[in-house]
Symmetry: C2
């Protein structure tokens, strides 16, 4: 990718005037169509200082309908941003369905800045690009059109432009000298950064910025074509969406054993020791969490399990000893229309807590590969992609000083039936049981296979699954608290 070649392309004033009305009309029409289609558009604007990135943004604001169009710049991160994984600040402003977001800068900015200041190492680059490419692929596969523009200039033109900009008394811009020096350093890296991140999911468009009319029209046309093509694909989506292969099994029951069959449901505990053990562990967890808070370690606890497996009760025993300022329980049901307008991970990213806090997820992102898979709410391609997306997401949480534990609470179908009936017959438990629960119960074999695959694909060294027998509630609760306590203790001690 020879992004630095300046061919001297230009557009005359007359041609500009001739072409503009048609381009604008079509852009507006495309924008309307993508609103109907629910496609999201993300435009990343990058390039050399003086290439007029901000002017391009202004031009697009002039040409497009401002409703549903938003520009975001990523400058000094706030402490709320610094206390969370690096991509949180991007997730919070990603476009929703039918919206266009302009990122002036964005996730390449830091790498480019480091390149400009020669702070980048050779082996470093790909390691830094990996999560970026994963994010772009994730978004692109979920109705997001990503276009990345790189604006460049011959060096003498750049120098001239920077001088003009600096004629106004504004000392915040880097000095011209520094910019020119940075240019040389950047030149060695820009090619490589762009080449390594130029994917079919999110291509780079390198645009000459010397002639302003050419720069703006070329941007407009590229955007227009991008939207129009993506609309065409969208309209044919179902036919184009060829499902990836999935594991197929022999029919014999012995060939269908799952990880759940290895959980000992007879596990029990003496009632007499339950109360004191519980209180002791609650106290320990309480003070461990304060130590984790002091260290800035965030704790993420994910609870999944059969309906009536006791998620709510377990969570209450867990939080009973916690300081309310430190934790938050976030229950997840079916997504709202507002949430559906975004990538499915968006509603979980939103709840990533500040450093040193505890987030407890009562159901979670695993819904994608459980209920959405079994009930067909997600296409096969969608839920199969999710394993990879989820592992990426969890790795980012853990890498940002996070401790992530995932629990599957397991009960037998017989015990589930007993609890359903109890719920049916207890007035204040009544709301917990719905026709859906009975329906899901009938699909248990399909769910068992889904749970099995989920555990196999997402049980990572950084975020392990714990399958806990909760047939006996006292046993299950103590076991969960024990795991939380032991893992926390190890982690806190290692960090102190």
């Amino acid at each position: 990718m020879r992004n630095s070649i300046d061919l001297g392309r230009s557009v005359s004033k007359e041609d500009y005037k001739k072409e503009l009305p048609e381009l604008r009309s079509r852009l507006l029409e495309a924008q309307r169509a993508l609103r109907t289609a629910g496609i999201r558009v993300l435009i990343i604007i990058e390039g050399l200082d003086g290439s007029g990135r901000a002017e391009v943004v202004n031009k697009l604001h002039e040409w497009l309908d401002p409703r549903g169009l938003q520009t975001h710049t990523f400058w000094n991160p706030s402490d709320e941003e610094l206390e969370r994984p690096a991509f949180w600040r991007f997730w919070r402003v990603l476009p929703g369905a039918g919206e266009i977001a302009l990122f002036l800068g964005g996730w390449y900015r830091e790498i480019i800045t480091d390149a400009t200041h020669e702070r980048i190492k050779n082996g470093d680059l790909d390691a830094r690009l990996t999560p970026i490419l994963a994010l772009e692929a994730m978004l692109a596969s979920d109705r997001t059109l990503i276009l990345k523009f790189w604006y460049h200039l011959p060096s003498e033109v750049q120098e001239q432009r920077l001088k003009e900009e600096h004629s106004t008394p504004d000392d915040r811009w880097p000095s011209i000298k520094a910019a020119i020096k940075g240019r040389e350093a950047l030149a060695q890296w820009a090619e490589r950064i762009l080449r390594h991140s130029d994917t079919a999911d999110a291509p780079w468009f390198s645009i000459e910025a010397e002639d302003v009319r050419y720069r703006d029209l070329a941007t407009g046309y590229t955007l227009l074509e991008g939207i129009e093509k993506s609309l065409a694909v969208q309209n044919n989506r179902r036919s184009a969406d060829i499902p990836p292969p999935e594991p197929a099994l022999p029919l014999a029951a012995s060939a269908r054993i799952t990880v759940l069959d290895h959980v000992d449901l007879s596990a029990n505990i003496s009632k007499s020791s339950y109360d004191t053990e519980l209180a002791d562990m609650q106290n320990e967890i309480r003070s461990l969490l304060w130590r984790a808070h002091a260290l800035g370690i965030s704790t993420y606890l994910v609870f999944e399990g059969w309906d009536a497996a006791g998620k709510g009760g377990t969570i209450r025993k867990l939080t009973a000893g916690m300081d309310a300022r430190l934790y938050r329980v976030i229950p997840y049901g079916a997504p709202s229309s507002h949430e559906l307008a975004h990538h499915y991970l968006w509603r979980f990213w939103r709840q990533v807590p500040r450093a040193g806090r505890v987030a407890i997820f009562d159901r979670s992102w695993y819904g994608r590969v459980l209920v959405e898979r079994v009930e067909g709410f997600a296409s096969q391609a969608e839920w199969q992609r999710a394993y990879h997306d989820i592992n990426e997401f969890e790795e980012q949480l853990v890498n940002h000083k996070g401790l992530l534990l995932k629990f599957w609470l397991h009960i037998s179908p017989e015990e589930q039936l007993r609890r359903f009936e109890d719920r049916q017959n207890t007035p204040w438990k009544n709301y917990k049981i719905t026709p859906d629960d009975w329906r899901n119960r009938e699909k248990r074999p399909a769910y068992e296979l889904a749970v099995n695959e989920m555990v196999l694909r997402t049980d990572t060294e950084f975020a392990p699954w714990h399958l806990v027998a909760n047939e006996n509630k006292e046993f299950g609760r103590l076991r969960v608290l024990e795991i939380v306590r032991d893992t926390l203790k190890k982690r806190v001690k290692a960090a102190e």
Copy 2:
């Protein structure tokens, strides 16, 4: 209000067991009903250390359906919170329609803490309570049920409890001694704080916390009754909503002169000087904004005006010279369902920028007293309340180092017709004209009266209105930029 009287109320274990099932069932039923009715519930939990506020929260989480229930604690404010008016952190987590928010602490916490540490002065209290009471009244009048609980204990019981809490190795809690000392100081103030903020909109409920069962049941019953009553009112709302009086006018045209009639629409400018003047002002504004940024002064620019009055074009001339990292243009149309679930000011609070930034509102909260009033989207009671709410909101923006300017762009009906026709005939302007615009045009007399009242009621010394003739676009644009520049310059110079 004698909040510190301990009567020794209690509930026996047997009575508790007897009453609980019925209470829980009714609470769940009430919660379901308020979801249907779209009522929001805000519960503020306050009281003495050791009174078990966090336990009450846990209990409510046990009793209620966790979906749509969220607890918020307000601890060290983040820099994102510190850079905005104090109430922003509360606005960002206010409950939506059908949701319940538990504030463990909240907007009384700071006053109570200051009282505990004897940092509060006599004349101070009411000044500090005023914005709180205004906010509560604003929310209460808009489908929000507010319940405030104050938990208290005899001092010897408190001492005992604190000692127990401190038996676990947790050094983050204030020492018992300090808590007891604080109690004495607080005692002198708590009565007064509660009394002054005990309103019909948001009453305080003082609850004895010595007997835990009494404490929890009393809380549950109070909450239940609050929701049930509010549902009853809600169902009769339309009949109960007696519209307040509004100004009535004689029919003579001379009696219906408005502020708009005093705007000189013939104002003009020579084309020759336009370009240079514009560029000069853009440059000045650009560097003034950087100085404002360094000082942490935020700028809010509100644009209202007739359809086709040139808001978009004026904003583009204004932002053409600004650094894209500093400003954001936020266009407002009809609210989404997500936004409708909240108080109408919520979607504007969300966009309050960090310190030193510029927010440009293309249409704004004034929609409430303009389109919503004229088209009947808001009831008369609703839009009449809005003047006061808006003034409160704007005062908070300004008091937090804000500069707020409001522009009404004015054109004659004839000029508007000309521009409508131009839009109709220019393909890429076509999207800007809708049947609504033609309909609004016919209602111009009603809008003129609405504009007049809006200006009279919300033209404050801290946030003045500027009625700018934009019949001649060049004149209007220069005038707006001039006002922005002059006000900014004055403000920046005064602060430097």
